[in-house]
């Protein structure tokens, strides 16, 4: 949980006096109250979605939910996959054609 508090502090700053974080759970009537003294913070999720935080509590809740103030510009999973595949394909092709050559020479 310590790591969690550090994350919240990194993204949202220090908790204002008298405010501490608790999990609001799944209450559909729960509303994040705007704190006029809180300087708006922008958070991002892994899909690149953006949300503006209007209070420290709201910000802490989002950070606990995996949001962050660092925007990871398009985590390119497909790029990573492609280069891994290219490496496998090159090795695979070399082995395959060496094997074919051997068979051809044998014949």
């Amino acid at each position: 949980m310590e790591k969690n508090l550090d994350d919240v502090m990194d993204s949202c700053g220090i908790a204002p006096e008298g405010i501490s974080y608790f999990d609001p759970g799944n209450d559909p009537n729960f509303v994040f109250k705007k704190d006029p003294t809180f300087e708006i913070v922008t958070l991002y999720d892994v899909d690149g979605n953006i949300a503006n935080m209007n209070s420290w509590f709201e910000c802490a809740h989002y950070v606990n939910g995996g949001w962050n103030n660092i925007q990871i510009l398009n985590y390119q999973g497909d790029k990573f996959l492609l280069f891994s595949m290219l490496a496998i394909a090159m090795i695979g092709s070399v082995l395959y054609f060496i094997d074919i050559k051997k068979r051809y020479v044998k014949k």
């Binding site: 790591k3 999973g77 497909d78 996959l81 492609l82 290219l86 394909a89």
Partner: protein
């Protein structure tokens, strides 16, 4: 079985790669799994892509009030992790990220390594072409573009542009390229033995997650290319196929329609565009060529085939039941075996039961179980296999599976054909063919008299047309109840002309109009039953009136489609081109209504000429004498069952049909 150590290692490595993302656990992270209930939905919604499947599973051991759902439209970072929890009714749905690009890689390699477990020959029996290494990846990468509308909803990384930054297309290309290499290596020594392992296609279903593509289609396309490059181009089949292609491309239909593929994903065209049509025409043409090559190269090993059939059948039953009892196994069954849909989580034999996801329909599962039992019986009866207690155990499991599919037709045909085989064996030599036919026709006449005594003849002969009319868009301004009343009145008065031509001109589909014309001929031939009456009476007897009625109401082909069809595995025009008003309960209106007859399916794809040619070819094939004449009953069994099911739409059932055809060719005798 596991002679090849390298294959086993490869298989285990790929299996672990598949399982790892789902089983990942980081004890140092701050996102702890919670018991799934109303209070934790919000937590899971706000901690997406942080908690793995295994973490949720272990936290909720014993709680079966939720099910896992594959969430394809999630990035690689969410693979194997919870991407959200929702509550539908009383059940919680836990979505697990299963990005299609990565799923495709893992599934294609896992299943490729499974091919290496097929027994191999000591020497090369086949020299596969290397041209397929380039051609096949191009074809299947092209599918992404041709069926854009399907893929755009399935994969976050999908992009239809041709550019170097479109990594997804390159991933697919390279994965298929590697698959071709693995397959070429495997085919060299195993092509003749593949046929003996066909029953396992009912266990490893092979539909790629998030793709409209099946593993076996890939395999047969590669074989098809090999067949074409070995002189197959000149075959009569390919020449006829080219003629059909001309007509299929000429009649494009409404290119905006889209079929989400539902339970037949992987083996059906989702789109009606020219490029999509061209892709499926090419694919099915190559698949059929692949079938031919496998037919020629196959060597049946009866004891091995029977054992594999029993193993596959009993595995399907046991895995299916495990999936019904555990939400985790249900999800893993879906993912590892490439099911089209997750299995139904009930033990009951209910309507719509898809045999736990291993089969798209309970009917095709029933046909498979029936096929296994009939195969075992025939091989045992004709002394091709010996008795074993292990076989008996598996037979009991398969019998239980057949019982649970609720497929009465499969059970009945199995019993009739078994008794017929015994009787033929006992009296076949003593009875001449002429006497046999006299007895058979006498039975038919007695049966006909019995049926017409039980039901009213007019009812039997018009019930199908009546049912089709109920589902047609007649009396558009009236309610369904009023429509039914009016239609019933006209049918009772035998006044179809007023119903269709005066009150509702151009409202009936061309199929319904055509059948009405046949039903009311200007010249009647005495003693020859009307074709429509015959089909109608048959539909009543086999409980297909409603489904065939809906098919007739829906399908409205033009002239070209009537004779040549819409193209292979193209259902868009059938599903969407003609407006209907189903006379069904509200909750059923959005269901997928397939024709419920493989002949009707073939009629949609290839028209009258195609169906005629297929029947002509089938008759020729059955007339050929071979050393395995006794196995022709298997083809007959499948044929009878396919008449009333959509099995031709399912890859596994088509491959089962292929197996039955290979079984009756002049096989070299191969024994254990």
């Amino acid at each position: 079985m596991l002679k090849n150590k390298n294959s086993l290692i490869g298989f285990i490595v790929i299996f672990l790669i598949i399982i790892f993302p789902f089983a990942r656990h980081d004890s140092g992270d701050i996102y702890n799994p919670l018991p799934i209930d109303d209070s934790s939905i919000g937590y899971y919604q706000s901690t997406t892509c942080n908690i793995s499947l295994s973490e949720v599973y272990l936290e909720n051991l014993g709680n079966e009030n939720f099910r896992y759902n594959a969430h394809n439209y999630a990035g690689l970072e969410c693979y194997g992790k919870v991407t959200g929890v929702d509550k539908v009714g009383d059940t919680f749905i836990v979505s697990i990220g299963t990005n299609p690009s990565f799923s495709f890689l893992t599934q294609i390699f896992l299943w490729s390594f499974i091919l290496f477990f097929i027994r191999k020959k000591d020497t090369d029996v086949f020299e596969p072409t290397n041209i397929s290494l380039i051609v096949v990846p191009i074809i299947f990468t092209f599918q992404q573009i041709s069926e854009e509308r399907f893929y755009i909803y399935e994969n976050k990384y999908f992009n239809s542009e041709f550019s170097f930054s479109n990594y997804n297309l390159f991933i697919i290309f390279i994965a298929i390229y590697l698959y071709c290499i693995l397959l070429n290596i495997s085919l060299r020594t195993r092509i003749s033995n593949i046929i003996n392992y066909i029953p396992f296609v009912f266990v490893v279903v092979g539909t790629f997650n998030g793709f409209n593509l099946n593993f076996y289609v890939l395999l047969f396309v590669i074989l098809g290319i090999n067949n074409l490059l070995n002189g197959g181009f000149k075959s009569r089949y390919n020449k006829i196929y080219l003629i059909f292609t001309f007509f299929w491309l000429l009649s494009p239909g409404d290119s905006y329609t889209f079929f989400d593929t539902d339970k037949i994903r992987g083996f059906v065209n989702s789109s009606n565009t020219i490029s999509s049509k061209a892709y499926w025409i090419l694919i099915i043409g190559l698949v059929v060529n692949g079938f031919y090559l496998l037919y020629v190269k196959s060597e049946i090993n009866i004891p091995l085939l029977v054992r594999n059939s029993l193993l596959a059948g009993s595995s399907m039953v046991l895995l299916g039941l495990s999936g019904a009892s555990s939400n985790l196994i249900n999800f893993l069954n879906f993912y590892i075996f490439g099911q089209n849909k997750t299995g139904i989580r009930t033990f009951d034999s209910v309507a719509g039961n898809t045999w736990r996801g291993f089969s798209a329909s309970a009917e095709s599962a029933g046909e498979f179980y029936g096929f296994i039992l009939l195969l075992y019986f025939l091989c045992f009866f004709y002394k091709k296999i010996s008795f074993s207690y292990a076989d008996m155990l598996m037979i009991i499991v398969v019998m239980f599976g057949l019982y649970k599919t609720n497929n009465f037709a499969a059970l009945l045909t199995l019993l009739i054909l078994t008794v017929a085989t015994i009787l033929y064996h006992k009296f076949g030599a003593k009875i001449s063919k002429r006497n046999f036919f006299i007895v058979a026709i006498s039975f038919l006449v007695i049966f006909g008299v019995f049926v017409t005594n039980k039901y009213d003849y007019t009812y039997l002969s018009t019930e199908l047309l009546y049912e089709a009319s109920l589902h047609s868009n007649l009396y558009t301004n009236q309610s369904n109840y009023q429509k039914t009343t009016l239609i019933t009145e006209f049918f009772n008065a035998e006044n179809l002309n007023t119903l269709f031509n005066i009150d509702n001109p151009n409202k009936a589909s061309s199929s319904l109009s055509g059948l009405i014309e046949i039903y009311t001929p200007t010249i009647g031939i005495p003693l020859v039953p009307n074709l429509v009456s015959l089909i109608s009476a048959s539909s009543v007897l086999i409980n297909r009136t409603e489904m065939w009625g809906i098919f007739i109401a829906k399908y409205s082909p033009n002239m070209s489609e009537t004779f040549f069809g819409n193209g292979p595995y193209q259902l868009n025009n059938y599903l969407y081109s003609h407006e209907i008003r189903l006379d069904l309960p509200e909750e059923k209106l959005t269901s997928l209504f397939l024709p419920h007859s493989s002949v009707a399916d073939l009629f949609i794809f290839t028209g009258f000429i195609g169906v005629g040619l297929i029947f002509f070819w089938a008759t020729q094939l059955l007339q050929k004498k071979s050393g395995s004449n006794y196995l022709k009953i298997l083809v007959f069994f499948l044929f009878l069952n396919f008449l009333k099911s959509d099995s031709i739409l399912y890859v596994s059932s088509v491959l089962l049909l292929l197996l039955s055809v290979v079984l009756i060719k002049e096989n070299k005798s191969v024994n254990e």
